[in-house]
Symmetry: C2
Subunit: 254 residues, 2 copies
């Protein structure tokens, strides 16, 4: 392995049948879960994992996620996630991903933006000084030919759906699980849309936490360019997260 390849984490998976949707394709929620796990594995192997950080009272917080796909693994198909650190700034780090099919060909990429916060003060940590700034040693230069997460704006006032945060929505921190937001957002749309115009690009911007028993509302807005934006707000109007979707042509092999 070259030093460059050593910086890239490579993780094999198989698309489990109950992780696939009605089309027999891996759901974006499950893919998102795999990406976050790979980020965790990769950081842990390099001394920047949650467990190590928690000891020193820090944790990673996901701020943005953008996924772009030309295809999605089918039920029982092996696939691979690669991940690497692209940039490290004082308060944020950019982590990229590639999704490879069973033949090792790229069928998608993802970009994510993370901050590290102090668990006591909830204030962001300075990534360039933590652990003697060692994180910059892991910066890798690999292609990720998709646009960065964009700004998402939704002005609608009529919710498309309303729900109350339940047991399955809540993670170990007592927060609404990042992946469950994705699932609830996907649930706003009819099967026919998935059949005719699968999602080609999916973005999440995490703004604030919500908690067990919170009522959250989903506001959907189609933009002039055909993209669909979703804003999730608490009843009082505070924004929890935003999402942007580009629904495109059916996957090549379909």
């Amino acid at each position: 392995m070259t030093p460059q390849q050593e910086k890239i984490g490579t993780y094999p998976f198989v698309a489990e049948p109950f992780h696939c949707d009605f089309r027999g394709r891996l759901t974006l929620g499950v893919l998102g879960n795999h990406l976050l796990n790979c980020a965790g594995f990769h950081a842990t192997d390099r001394g920047f994992g949650i467990a190590t950080l928690n000891e020193s009272n820090y944790t990673w917080v996901l701020s943005r996620l953008a996924i772009e796909l030309t295809d999605l693994p089918r039920s029982y198909e092996p696939f691979t996630v690669q991940t690497w650190v692209e940039n490290v700034y004082r308060l944020f780090t950019d982590r990229n991903f590639a999704l490879l099919n069973a033949q090792g060909e790229p069928i998608g990429y993802a970009r994510s933006v993370w901050a590290m916060i102090n668990l006591e003060t909830r204030k962001p940590a300075d990534l360039l000084t933590l652990h003697e700034g060692k994180i910059v040693d892991y910066i890798a230069n690999a292609p990720c030919p998709i646009e960065k997460p964009s700004r998402i704006k939704v002005s609608g006032t009529q919710p498309a759906a309303t729900l109350t945060a339940k047991y399955s929505d809540i993670d170990i921190n007592g927060h609404f699980n990042s992946i469950r937001y994705i699932e609830h957002i996907l649930d706003l749309f009819p099967l026919d849309l998935y059949r005719q115009r699968p999602i080609r690009r999916f973005e999440m911007a995490y703004v604030a936490e919500s908690y067990f028993g919170d009522t959250i509302q989903f506001f959907v807005e189609e933009q002039a360019d055909g993209t669909v934006c979703v804003e999730v707000r608490k009843l009082e109007g505070d924004v929890v997260c935003r999402s942007k979707m580009v629904w495109g042509e059916p996957y090549a092999a379909e």
Copy 2:
């Protein structure tokens, strides 16, 4: 390995952070998913997997599932699922499971009942003649010290929850995903109950399929012995599935 051990499938896992609930314990939905996957791996390795069966127009249908626990894996903890065939009858087969913690000690067991149906006629297949009855060669004799799935009855008429089947609920067969019923049933209960009296036994009886757009209702009834039963019905009253839960003392290590 003795011939007996060869008949038992052993599958290692790690409790992923986003697969754990607010207590940092693996959720029963994720555990159920692992059990079904292990059933699939084990059957596939022995020529009775879905893929092989589909070629000959047959598929497995899960009828009953009963899980009993003394503990649940914590976030990032390794654990193991073992599975084997206990009995084969003409129309049903009993498949058992053991859940082992990181030290290899049993922390739970499960029993499941499966039928095989013909995909065209939807009629059950005769397990004792299919593939020259080879399935009986895989019967193993291992301890599974929990009671068989029981009869569940709910007579209530006031639903505790009502929902419409959405994108994330639907599997590749166009049916409501077996695991999602478990998640929706768990979502009927408050976090405090999980905190004070974790589930010690959980049963599912799958009765009929539901589909995208179906409205289903959840009827909850506490029995005289303290067990809680849930019946899921379509709007017209047809029963979709039933569940029974025993909420018990906190796990030993808590």
